[in-house]
Each structure stands twice: as structure tokens, then as C-alpha cells.
Symmetry: D4
Subunit: 150 residues, 8 copies
């Protein structure tokens, strides 16, 4: 099977879950291209004004940045076979839930990754997922099964 799978890693940017999935997949020899939003918080927040000029109003500051980030996120989600959505224990993370809804409407396969403590709050998102994981290692095991299992 010669297909290169495209896996979009959406959500939390404050722990090393992306690295653990990527290194796990590499160790398993999986033919995967991992794609992500920009995960440098300050760069992501300020990209709009950094490139297109200052805004006094923070709403437009955010709006400009979100427009540029959406070029990346929406293009890459459209390209993806699988969207992994990670929810951590901090912040609102509405962008992660937004990505999940976006992916669901496009018919993408979704894997969620979060602590069981968030189960009730995430029930609609989890229902749209093919699998609900608690650890990055489980995500890697799923990828390994889906991609390489005979």
C-alpha cells in the first residue's frame, strides 16, 4: 500500500502531544505527513498585525491574525485524511472544537484526544469522532493499525 496518509493535528499547543505522536509514528515506520496549525502562540496571535499593520482595536488585531491562520488550517484540514483534535485542561480551546466541526462536515475521520474528565463537556465532539483517546500513544497505535495492518 503506497498511500501517504495526511494527519492534521489540531488543538492544544502547550504540551508535547504532537511530538509524541510524530515520533511514535516515525518509530513505527508509518508513511504519514503530519500537518498542524502554527503552534508558536505569540506568532500565531500577532501574525495579522505583524504582516499587515497595527490595529488599535484588539478585535481587529485578532481578526487579521485569524484570517491568515485560517488559510493554513482550512487548507490543511481539507487535505487531511484524519484530523486528531486534542483538548487540554487549560483555555477555552474553541478553535479546536471549531476544527472538529469543520472536519466533521467535510466527512473527515476524526480522533479526539483528551482526559476522561472532559468527557461530558466534549460529548458532541466525541460522538462525531471515530475514536476517543486518552494518550498520544493510543493515537499512534490507531494510525499503525489503520495504515499498516494487513
Amino acid at each position: 500500500m503506497s498511500k501517504q496518509w495526511i494527519v492534521y493535528l489540531s488543538g492544544e499547543i502547550h504540551t508535547d502531544w504532537r511530538e509524541r505522536i510524530q515520533s511514535g509514528a516515525q518509530a513505527a515506520g508509518l508513511d504519514v505527513s503530519f500537518v498542524s496549525p502554527v503552534t508558536d502562540h505569540a506568532s500565531s496571535d500577532d501574525v495579522g498585525v505583524n504582516i499587515l499593520g497595527k490595529e488599535d482595536d484588539s478585535f481587529w488585531h485578532d481578526h487579521k491574525g485569524a484570517g491568515i491562520n485560517a488559510i493554513r488550517t482550512q487548507t490543511l484540514i481539507k487535505d487531511a485524511d484524519i484530523v486528531v483534535v486534542r483538548f487540554g485542561d487549560k483555555y477555552r480551546q474553541w478553535n479546536a472544537a471549531f476544527d472538529a466541526g469543520y472536519a466533521a462536515a467535510l466527512g473527515k475521520s476524526i480522533i479526539t484526544l483528551h482526559d476522561p474528565a472532559l468527557t461530558h463537556a466534549l460529548k458532541e465532539v466525541d460522538r462525531a469522532a471515530n475514536a476517543v483517546c486518552e494518550s498520544p500513544e493510543q493515537v499512534v497505535e490507531i494510525l499503525e493499525y489503520v495504515i499498516n495492518k494487513r
Copy 2:
């Protein structure tokens, strides 16, 4: 113009914002069919087990309910011309952000409704919206303009 507009009201279920939009639209004589998720919290949470049988594990309790609720929410969002997404100041409200992402991928017009305090956290959702409102009355004004203005 004889079109009946379909407006889906997504999100927060603990304040009267839906009623204020609906009564405002009625007062303005707008030809709108408003649709919503089930807004009775307990019914919504327990519908799965109430109809399909008990679950010991709360994950499956939620899963069953979310499946039935999705029949309603996804069908009605697909039918809608406009999706209004309300974020309140309590709870995680990931289902609201999920609905917004779902609507965005389907090319629906989106109006968000929330306090300015949430602006930064909602920047990706707001960027996908045609308008960002702070009060239900602003939503009514937009509907009135969009539907009836010559």
C-alpha cells in the same frame, strides 16, 4: 420576496437570548423559521438512555444521547440559511464551537453572539462569521436588514 428564511440558534441554553431574537423577529414581521437544538438540559443529556436503555459507563450514556441530538442538530443546520452561535460566560460550550465549524464548512452564513470579554478566545470562530454581535437585538436588526430591507 417570498422566501422563508431558516435560522438555526446554536449554543447557550441558560439565558433568554433565543426568546429575545424570536420575539424581536416576530415584532418586526419577519418571515423566519427559527430552529434550535433541544434546550431542556436534562432531557438533552439523558435522551439516549431514556429511550435506548441505561448505561453504567457515563461515556456511553453521553454517547447515546449525543447521537440522537445530532440527528436534530445536523439536519437543521444543513437546512438553515443562517446559523447564530451564542457563547455565554459559563461552561465549555464546545458544542457551540463545533456547530460553528460544521456550519462554516457547509458554507452557511454565521452570526456569533457573545460578550466582548470572549473576543480573543473566539477569534477563529468570529473570523468565520459574517457578523459578531453583543446583543440579541443586534441579531434581530441584522435579520430585519437581510430579509426585509429594500
Copy 3:
């Protein structure tokens, strides 16, 4: 909410499950248009040759009939909001599973209806469903919740 829901009732034609759902929905005052394949077994099997002329080979006998039946089934499934798929304890019922796959790819909400004894054999179909029921009355309860619950 003024929407008339369209519910396609696919599958088994040898018990009264359709009647039980339809009369239950009527008793509950639901605004539903129920649609179905032709449920008269002989008519359905022979419609091709009855209208278009005899075939010596039973393969083409079936082929002609299946073509005409597909005009009805595929048009009505495309129109439907919800597809209920019933599996009984007799026959192969591959057409029911085919309808479920067809509906799934179109993004329709699916409700399956079958005895728990079939659970393992139907796991792929059930996974694509929003709800898995054992009785027609459960289907009615779901419709009532989805359509009329505030």
C-alpha cells in the same frame, strides 16, 4: 418549527414495523412524511419483466426489476432527512445494508432497528448510525424527541 421531516423506512418487509412506526408517529402528532421501497414482495421482484418484457435468464429478470426499484429507493433516500434501516431474522437483506451505506455516504442520519442477536454482524452498519433500536416504539420516541421536543 414548521419543517416536515422525511423519513425513509428501509429493509425488512415481512413484519409490521413500518405500520407501528407510522401509527406511533401519527398518534404523537408528528409532521413526518414516511417513504419506503415497494413492500409487496412479488410486485417488487417482478416489476422489471412485468413492464418491460420477459427474460429467460433470472439474472436479467432481477436486473430489470432492480433498475426500476432503484429509481424509487435512491430518489427517496436522497430526499430523506432520516433513514431507518430494519434488519429482521430472515433472508440476507443485503439491500438494507446497501441502503445504509448509500445513506451514510450522503450524510443522512441513520437509525438501525434490529434484535440484539444481530449486533455483531451489524457492527459496521450500527457504527454509522446515530441510534440503534430494538423496537419500532423506540424509533417513534426518537422521532418525537428530534422533531417536537422544545
Copy 4:
């Protein structure tokens, strides 16, 4: 013609039909990428609980596994140019019929492969197919004609 064709081999996992098609295609020098569901029965049945944790209820055992398998099957069917669906003489094989319906709604070319004894029961599935074969060798001949014939 430089196109690599993608052929999904759906259905029965208890005979060597996949191997016969693949070796036949290789012998004919066809540029085909064959893809399949996981064909190891136990792995496929238990993948959900093996990776995501035990379930007491066999329904959820199956549900978890079917979710992970669907990542693979639905992604690969979407990628495919042709879906070959094999029905054997054992088991219910509703997943095969589901795959056929799924492929049909996506507009994929379908080839069915089964004994003539199953013709009547498979008439709806066969009607959606471009060709109905009795042997893997016929499938290979079709692929050879479709891909390489001048």
C-alpha cells in the same frame, strides 16, 4: 497512460480471492494500488478494545472496533477508482453490502464477485455494479482491459 489505479477490495476474508486478483494483476503488469480493510478477523474484531480499553458490553466492544476500522475503510473507498465487492457463502456480510452502497453514492465504479447462487439476494447490489463476476480471474481481465487496453 501514466495513471495508477486504486482498487479497493471489499468483503469476504476467508478465501484467497484478494491474492488471486493481486497476483493476476501483477502478472499482467498493471499499475494498480490495491487497498483493503484489515483482513485478520481477530485483529479487526478486537482493535477497539485492544487499543482503547476493555468493554463489558459486547455492543460497545464492537462499536469501538468498528469506529477504528471505518477510518481505514471509508478513507480508502473515497480514494478508490474501483471498488470490488466480494460475497462468499458464509456469514451475513452486511459490511460488504454497506461498502457497496457507500461506494455507489460516491459514484465509484463497482465490480461484484460472487457465486450465481447469490444472484437473487444480491440483485440491488449487482444493479449498482458495472460488472458482476464469478471468479477473481474475471476481475483481473476487467482490470487489464480497463487499464491497459488500447
Copy 5:
């Protein structure tokens, strides 16, 4: 079943086949809206120059007319549930075959209507059809079965 079916009648304009289908459907009490291209030959040929001004070159004469006719034919085919395509024994009738291809790519149900003498020449079109008829009365019987049969 309250659905009004939309049936597009494409092709030959020199015999009374449309009238026979329409009166047959009316006699059978079918809820069908029949739609057609303009069937007045001269009006159809000259509509472009009649409305938009003369052309010296017959190519542009035809081009202008075909553009206006396509507004009608393509809109109504998109609206249709079923496209009936009639081939007579005169003229090239490439527009009928074009309509059939157009309908096939949109996933419409197709019924062809022609003399068996044309079978070999129409094999690709017939293969895309759900039914191949020789008389308008057979088309009516199919509509009656598809629309009203229990």
C-alpha cells in the same frame, strides 16, 4: 406519500410521446410535474437572434439560441427526479444524448425510450439508464409503480 415528482422529458420533438406520457400519468392520478425543453422547433432554433439580434454567421445564430435554451434545460434537469430521454428515428439528436450524460453525472434516474433498432447505437446511454422502454405507455407504468405502488 406527498412528494410531487419532477420528470424531465428530453429529446425528440416530432411525435406525440410527451402527450402520451402526460395524459397517461394524469389518467393514473400521479402527482408529477412534467417539464421539457421548448418543443417548437422554429422558436427553439431562432430564439437567440429573435431576442438578441441577427447574426450573419449561422454558427453564432445557433450559439445564441443554444445559450438561452440551456438556461431552461439545465435548470430543469437539475430540478428533476427522473429524466426520460427519447430517441426517434430521424435527426442526429445529439442534444438528447448530451442531456442523458448531463443527467447521469448529476446522479439523476434515467429512463430511455426508443425503438429496439437503436439499441446498439445507444448502448452507452442505455447502460446509464435505470430502464429502457419502447413505448410511452411503459414509461407511464414505471412512473405509476415508482410513485404510487405500496
Copy 6:
């Protein structure tokens, strides 16, 4: 033929071309629902800040208004069977050309309406149109032919 046609009237707002088309269609007894953007220039320009609050920067003033107007224009173009795009002799009218491109990608039938002096500048837009008119009366004649001609 019971279809009500939906015709979107895009472009210039400074002459009476919409009224002439609408009154012509009414005189001809056509079953058409005409839809349009808001044609009151000041209301359209200022709707964003009027409803959602002032902006110091004219870019955001325009941006807010354009977002609300897009709810109307994009929803109604999606609903339309035919999009008539009028170019006058003043202003840039890039929104009209944008609407034409939007409609073209959605597969809508397009009729352009402009003075021959604009022909060269509008060649790409006209090429995407089914008909190119110089007067509103020609548009009415086309609608009459398309909708009512036998």
C-alpha cells in the same frame, strides 16, 4: 409547469433596470420571485456600523457592512436559478463581477446586461453567461421564453 423561478438581480443600483424587468415579468404573467441585494446605497454602505457600532478606520467600516450584505447576497444567489448581472457606465462595480464569478462557480445560469461599449472589458464575464443583453426588455423576453414557452 408549476415551478416558481428565482431570479437574482445583481449589480448597478442607480437606474430603474430592476423595476423594468420586474414589471415586464409581471405584465407577462411569469411565475418569478425576484431577489436583489439591498439597493439603497447609504443603507448598504453603513449597515455594519449602524447595527454593530462605529469604526474609526474606513476599512473596518466597509468590512462590517460587507459581511452583513454577504449574508443576503450569497444566500440568495445560492437559492437562484438565474442570476442577471447588470453593469452600468459608472463606478467600478467589482461586486457585480464578483457575484458573476460566484454564480458561475455554483453552476447558475447567468444573463449579463450592459451597453455594447463595455463588451471588451466584460469579455470574461460575458463568456460565462448564457445570454448577453443590452436592455431590460430583452431579459424579460428571455425569462418569458425560458419559463412559459411551450
Copy 7:
């Protein structure tokens, strides 16, 4: 520009127009993958019965063959950027017109290639085309312009 264009060559199989286009494109150094239906008349007509077994009735003989040919033609048309449709002076060539309609509904760019004597009969097909050519050399010139012109 590194794109390899895919050009489907549909229609007449009795003259050397395909070879002239292909050699012209090669001489011009164009990066094109040309794809075609099977152009060996006898193979194409008999492929169904040759692989799948004899039929007494010529209708089913044709039907079987057309099913297999459609795997190739419909897959390759879906892949194509441009569909060139050639009409010669012999035979009905309804399959060519069918391909043109199929391509048009998929939004493909179409180039027709035929003698001016066929202009009136092909007006609907030509209207759906981006260009109408009389010689294979014109097709090559268009490809050269479209693909390589700066």
C-alpha cells in the same frame, strides 16, 4: 508551472485525430497525459461477453460491454482537466454526446472537434464547449496556449 494536464479524447475511432493531437502535443513539448476510451471497435463491443460470458440477446451483449467500458470512460473523464469530443461524419456517435454532457455537468473544460457541416446538429454540445475546432492541429494549438503560454 509543473502541472501535468490530463486530456480525455472522446468520440470517433475511425480516423487518426487522436494520433495527430498526441504527436502534435509531443512535438510542442507539452506535459500532457492523454487518456481515451478503448478505440479497438471489436474489443470494445465484445468485452462484456468475452470476459463475463455469452448472451443470446444482443441487448444484454451490449449492456455487459457498456458496463465495463463505463468503468474506464467515467473514471478517466472525472480525472480529466479537459475533454476533447470528436464527431466524425459516420455513425450516430451518441456516446460522444453523452460524454460531453457528462463532462459538462462535472464542470470540465470541453473542446469539440468536427466539420462545420455538423454545426447546427451539434449546437447544444458546442454551446457547452470552451472552443469549437475543425482540425486536430487547432486542438494542439489550444493546448499549447493553455499549458505553456507565459
Copy 8:
């Protein structure tokens, strides 16, 4: 990330903005395939009659050329991830606005590039864009962020 991004550069052909974006992207080491309409004005205007024969009427002269140019522009916009639309200070540039509308309906990411003096006239186009730039260098910075930023 191994994706090659496809960026379509639409609009003005009289300044060196394309070269500045392309050389900037090359300097930044971005993996981008830039595609464009034909930017040689005379070739573009006359391609129709040059290849397909003279026209006396300038309308058809333009029409023939626009048909051939549309093969290129619409195919490449469909392929693109991002469409950059440049408006200069001369000419009507309705084709640029048309491309923007076309891209918007296809869900492409759009970047506009123009002088602030055009802001009010371009407000509908800018509203559909993810970013509004004043210099080619800003476009390069966005591409660099979107494609290469970690």
C-alpha cells in the same frame, strides 16, 4: 511538511507584482507552484481568432478568446490552494473580481492585493478574502508564515 502549495496569481498584468511574489517566495525557499492566466495582453486578447479563425464582430472576437482563456484560468483556480487577486489603478479589471467570486464559491483561500485608495470599491471582494495586502512583499510574508512557520 511535504505539501507543495499551489498559488494562483489573478489580475493586473501591467506591473511586476507577480515577479516580486515569485522571486520573494523563491528567496524564502517556499515549496510553491505559482500559476497564472496568460499575461501577454495581445496574445490573450487575440488567442481565439488566432487559432480558430477571424471574426468580423468584435463581440465574437472576444468571446472566442475568453473561451480559450477560461480553460486555463478555471482549471488552475480549481487546482489552487490560494488565489491572490491583484487590482491595479487602471482598467476595469472585472475579470479579477470575477476570479475572486469564482474562487470564493469554491471555498479557496483568497488574498487581495491593492492600494488603499481602492478599499471602498473593493469592500465585497476584500470581505471574502483572508487577508488584504498593499504590497507583494506582504503576500510573500503571508505565504512564508502559512507554509513554513512551525
